[in-house]
């Protein structure tokens, strides 16, 4: 396996020419690349897929990988590295087998994403973008991943782990480090980061059952539909966050607080018990 220093991506000092892939690796990548390039009217369009492909080969984008992209597409090294450094999904240094991304964009952060990220940093003893000593887990914060109705959201190798808490996230990384199988709430049983990168390059997941895994839509995606079908009882659906009571399976409960102006435990300190008794009735 080739290894190149991080400086290869940097600007400034000209880097030494990157070593080539060994001949057998090169032949395999050439065949893959030809398949990807053929999907586009203009070969350069295959650059993002090819960068995913070389990331699948080595776990991050190396100088060797960029050189391969440049040679395949007839681009300069500078053209390729300008692109590779623009996009956040291309890693520029070796990282863990499992990339654990905690969403800390506003909505998830407020609902608990910040607390989850803090808990993971403390639990694993690594900082943001840090990798555990065993090389298994890299923790980072990520931006909104289009799953806000499942907040707080954690992604592992870009599979969804919805409705997380600090405790569930700590269990998750412990399982990953111990090699125990973990299943996303939406997505397929985890493969390694490199295998994930190959899917991103454009090669369908070869594992039987991967497409079907975790079933149809997630619970939050179905809430409106169930209401519209009268299944959950008007205004009485159950939060998907209560994991042991999927929507529609719990008996009708109280309607919760109105959205309109009203007193709350914060604004109405004389009646702190209000929400408590309601909560208890569920």
């Amino acid at each position: 396996m080739t290894h190149t220093p991080d400086t290869a991506v940097g600007i400034g000092m000209p880097a030494m020419p990157a070593p080539d892939y060994p001949a057998d690796v090169r032949a395999r990548l050439d065949a893959d690349a030809a398949e990807l390039v053929a999907r586009y009217p203009d070969s350069r369009s295959a650059l993002l897929p090819l960068l995913h492909l070389v990331q699948a080969e080595e776990g991050h984008v190396t100088a060797t990988g960029m050189r391969f992209c440049a040679q395949t597409l007839g681009l300069t090294g500078a053209e390729v590295s300008a692109v590779a450094t623009f996009y956040t999904m291309y890693r520029r240094k070796p990282s863990g087998d499992y990339q654990v991304g905690v969403c800390t964009n506003t909505l998830c952060a407020v609902l608990g994403g910040d607390a989850i990220l803090d808990a993971l940093h403390e639990h694993l003893g690594v900082g943001d973008d840090g990798t555990t000593e065993d090389g298994k887990v890299t923790v980072e914060h990520i931006e909104c991943n289009a799953a806000c109705d499942f907040a707080p959201v954690v992604m592992v190798n870009w599979e969804f782990f919805d409705n997380q808490t600090p405790e569930s996230a700590k269990r998750l990384v412990d399982d990953l480090r111990a090699g125990r199988p973990v299943e996303p709430t939406r997505g397929a049983p985890l493969c390694t980061y490199r295998e994930t990168a190959r899917i991103l390059a454009g090669f369908p997941d070869p594992r039987p059952g991967a497409v079907e895994a975790s079933g149809g839509a997630g619970p939050a995606s179905l809430i409106g539909l169930r209401l519209a079908k009268g299944e959950a009882g008007a205004g009485r659906v159950v939060a998907p966050r209560t994991a042991d009571h999927p929507a529609g399976e719990r008996p009708p409960e109280h309607l919760s607080a109105h959205d309109a102006p009203q007193k709350t435990s914060a604004s109405d300190p004389e009646h702190p018990a209000g929400p408590v008794s309601e909560e208890g009735e569920g």
């Binding site: 609902l111 870009w158 991103l200 997941d205 995606s221 409106g224 519209a228 919760s256 959205d259």
Partner: protein, 464 residues
């Protein structure tokens, strides 16, 4: 303490132009079309889709001359669901015909606007609605090669798209001579690599051409010089996925929902401190109050403080906007934008300065760097906001925030800059006192622990 949303009065009858009053039952308020069978065990398969009228709209369209398809979509009044609400049929009509160049359809599946979470669940549960819509759109604009630009960070969705496209080829809905019509179409699924700006349509085209995703100067518009400098339509996932039902059930059916200028159904995404976050498909023009009424309201014991009608780039609203009709005109008249219909709801435990700081950090991180007002402005906004949030700000910093936002807004190269200014302006408009409290009080008066989803599950916090 039990203000219930339940009503003992009969629901008001639905008017021809939209849902009834606030007492409407969920069955009447909501109108699942795209999401109608997401609860089927294998909703994403071709087989399930075909059991639910799948590929019927395509058959109707392929039997029509392309220009008639464009006219029908135009008459239906369908407007783009990617944020700006541009009429879809009109966009297709702009494609020059007989120009001898290839034409392209590029579907924008980059969905990265904070709060936005509709296209991803749609593609996960029902990818064939997009593929069918693409076939219809390509027939209309005379394109034989279309692309789906999917953000990379959603591998489960990528899997189902790969699978659905393969199924469609196997069924003869893609490839040569589709369903015996003589029409050919290939679809390429393309995964992005993490950059919000690639959702901006011209940056998306540069990215799809294998470059850094940076916006292009317009004109020329993509309809004239888009992908590979050829005529190109860029449409949002939901826009295209809405087309098959229009072809199959007709424009009058579509127009029976929503309003004259904003007809049809759409996905509203409710998130945040609500009892039941999720997707709610309804006619355009419902209000947040109606959606909260039928869905269980804000979480127990809390009240709405601020919300976004269509993602973080749309100016925020407060309680006073609960009855604003959520269509393009209604939200515009109230001073914001319908955007992506990402209804992020925050309750009174949430610090607005914290929320805006985090969004601004996002814009600074995602600014592509091409133009100075956005690149430099978002950086300085973050510095000021972090200072204010930490209690180290001054009264002048608040004025400075406004000045910088003003320098970015309308003076940036693309709409990302305007989006970055929106939360600043709107939060200062409604919550200036909260910024001042951070300055005078020397810090944040809020306890972030109270805003978490698990806050109310521990007894001592409920009693706080």
């Amino acid at each position: 303490m039990s203000v219930v949303t339940e009503s003992t009065e009969p629901a008001e009858p639905d008017g021809p132009s939209g849902p009834g009053g606030p007492q409407t039952s969920p069955e009447k308020l909501l109108s699942p079309v795209l999401s109608a069978f997401w609860d089927e065990p294998e909703s994403w398969t071709l087989e399930t889709y075909q059991r639910h009228d799948g590929y019927q709209g395509m058959r109707t369209a392929l039997a029509m001359p392309p220009d008639d398809v464009i006219a029908l979509v135009k008459d239906s009044g369908l407007r783009g669901r990617g944020g700006a609400g541009f009429p879809t049929g009109m966009k297709w009509q702009f494609i020059p015909q007989g120009d001898g160049k290839p034409h392209y359809l590029v579907v924008n599946a980059d969905e990265s606007e904070p709060g936005t979470c509709k296209d991803i669940p749609l593609l996960f549960a029902n990818p064939h609605s997009l593929i069918e819509g693409m076939i219809i759109a390509c027939h209309a604009i005379r394109s034989s090669h279309a692309f789906i630009y999917l953000r990379g960070e959603v591998v489960p969705v990528l899997r189902r798209l790969h699978h659905a496209v393969a199924e469609a080829y196997a069924a003869g809905y893609l490839g040569k001579d589709i369903a015996g019509s003589g029409f050919d179409l290939d679809i390429t699924v393309h995964a992005g690599a993490g950059a919000y700006i690639c959702g901006e349509e011209t940056a998306l085209l540069d990215s799809l051409e294998g470059r850094r995703g940076q916006p292009r100067l317009r004109p020329p518009f993509p309809a004239v010089a888009g992908l590979y400098a050829c005529p190109t339509v860029v449409n949002n996932v939901e826009s295209i996925a809405s087309v098959p039902a229009i072809l199959h059930r007709g424009k009058d059916w579509f127009r029976s929902m929503g309003s004259e200028k904003s007809p049809g159904f759409t996905l509203y995404s409710l998130s945040g401190h609500v009892t039941n976050p999720g997707q709610y498909e309804a006619p355009l023009g419902v209000t947040l109050r109606q959606l909260l009424d039928v869905s269980g309201g804000m979480r127990t014991g809390h009240r709405l403080k601020f919300w976004t009608p269509g993602g973080s780039s749309t100016p925020m609203f407060t309680e006073e906007h609960l009855d604003v009709p959520l269509d393009y005109e209604g939200v515009g008249a109230a001073g914001s934008m319908l955007g992506t219909k990402a209804l992020q709801c925050f309750d009174e435990t949430t610090c607005v300065v914290r929320a805006v700081t985090r969004w601004t950090e996002f814009y600074a991180h995602e600014s592509c760097g091409k133009c100075t007002p956005c690149r430099e402005g978002t950086y300085w906004l973050v510095q000021l906001l972090r200072g204010i949030e930490a209690g180290k700000g001054t009264a002048e910093d608040i004025t400075k925030l406004e000045d910088i936002a003003d320098t970015i807004n309308g003076k940036s190269f693309c709409a990302l800059g305007d989006g970055a200014a929106s939360p600043i302006f709107s939060s200062l408009k409604y919550f200036r006192d909260e910024y001042e409290a951070h300055v005078t009080g020397g810090g944040c008066p809020f306890d972030p622990a109270l805003s978490t989803v698990w806050a109310d599950q521990s007894p001592q916090e409920v009693n706080a």
